[in-house]
């Protein structure tokens, strides 16, 4: 099987037509392939998130990771960009939806696209993946430990994000949720609340909560990494996308 991949930095038109830096990884075969928008965590558009993006290409998906902090910090190192964005309250929801919409359009326009696009996000990106799925016509969405889908950010924080569980009724696609039982943002109770709303709205979803894992259990470069949970989580992602995004 021809398994060559290509990965490079490009720019994509996002919200308001702004040119957004993006990391684009794709298989070089004829396809057709599904598309994945990778939504980075709050610490930013970093080497580990780019590695995740390449992993999708290696496994047969056209993948794009937007630098959500392009407007605040184009050209800055990921941690400097994240510090600036944090001080300004993070990424506004409307802008996120516009940017992911631009990536979705880009992926659907590729000559070897099968017309299907999903999202996956980690941490703040998990909430943003859910937000994209209630705002855009997507085919699959994965939420990895996204906080504040349910629940409010702490008092006095500059963070602009608020709860969005009330938008569950608008979910456009199946949702896979992967969470750690020891996480407090989101807590198991908050995950249950989201699950109840998904049931009430008759949505297609699969949730898995891993014992012995907390927040950021997919992060290979952090003490939070939990290989068992991450390995099982990746298998569930391939199974889920295989059903909803593959040709």
């Amino acid at each position: 099987m021809y398994d060559a991949v290509m990965a490079e930095t490009i720019s994509i038109a996002g919200h308001g037509g702004d040119q957004i830096e993006a990391y684009y990884a794709r298989p070089l075969g004829p396809g057709p392939f599904g598309g994945v928008v990778v939504i980075h965590h709050m610490p930013g558009y970093d080497p580990q998130t780019k590695e995740i993006t390449r992993t999708f290409a290696v496994n047969g998906y056209n993948a794009v990771c937007l630098n959500l902090y392009t407007r605040e910090a184009a050209g800055a190192s990921p941690d400097d960009a994240a510090a600036t964005a944090r001080a300004r309250g993070g990424v506004p929801d409307e802008r996120l939806v516009g940017d992911v919409g631009g990536a979705m359009t880009f992926l659907r326009s590729l000559p070897n696209s099968n017309g299907k696009v999903g999202t996956i996000g980690y941490c703040s990106g998990g909430r943003q993946s859910f937000l994209a799925a209630v705002s855009l016509p997507l085919d699959a969405a994965v939420d990895c430990y996204g906080a504040f889908v349910v629940g409010h950010p702490p008092e006095g924080t500059p963070l602009k994000a608020g709860p969005i569980v009330h938008l569950t009724k608008d979910l456009s696609c199946p949702l896979l949720g992967l969470f750690g039982a020891e996480d407090t943002h989101p807590s198991p109770e908050q995950v249950q609340e989201l699950e109840q709303e998904l049931k009430a709205q008759g949505k297609t979803y699969e949730f898995h909560t891993y014992e012995g894992a907390g927040h950021a259990f997919f992060a290979v470069n952090r003490p939070a990494y939990r290989p068992e949970a991450a390995n099982d989580g990746w298998n569930r992602i391939w199974d889920f996308y295989g059903r909803y995004l593959a040709a």
Binding site: H41, M42, P43, E72, A73, A76, S77, D79, D80, A81, A83, T84, R86, A87, C123, S124, Y145, A147, F148, P153, P154, G156, T157, P158, L159, D183, T184, H185, G214, H215, A216, R222, P223, A224
Partner: protein
């Protein structure tokens, strides 16, 4: 987990970053995931000057214990300043 809470203050002074000295206008203080320190969470301080762009930043990541010791050392240093100097 990502804690999201951020203390923000205005500061006056100077900091030495990757490209040398620059004037400081702001500081963010938060207990959250570090980028470099080997811990799940750390007390992070960003000394910033937004007007000079995101790379105008001096960043530190400390254990909670170190951060408390630093806070005490700051108070002690200021308390020991001779009369009339402050």
């Amino acid at each position: 987990m990502c804690t999201y809470q951020t203390e923000q203050i205005k500061v006056t002074g100077s900091g030495k970053g990757a490209d040398g000295w620059f004037g400081l206008t702001d500081a963010s203080v938060y207990y959250d995931h570090p980028v470099h320190a080997a811990a799940e969470h750390s007390l992070n301080i960003d000394f910033l000057n937004p007007g000079q762009g995101p790379s105008a930043r001096v960043a530190v990541e400390l254990t909670a214990e170190s951060a408390r010791a630093l806070a005490q050392a700051i108070e002690a240093a200021l308390a020991s300043v001779p009369a009339g100097l402050l």
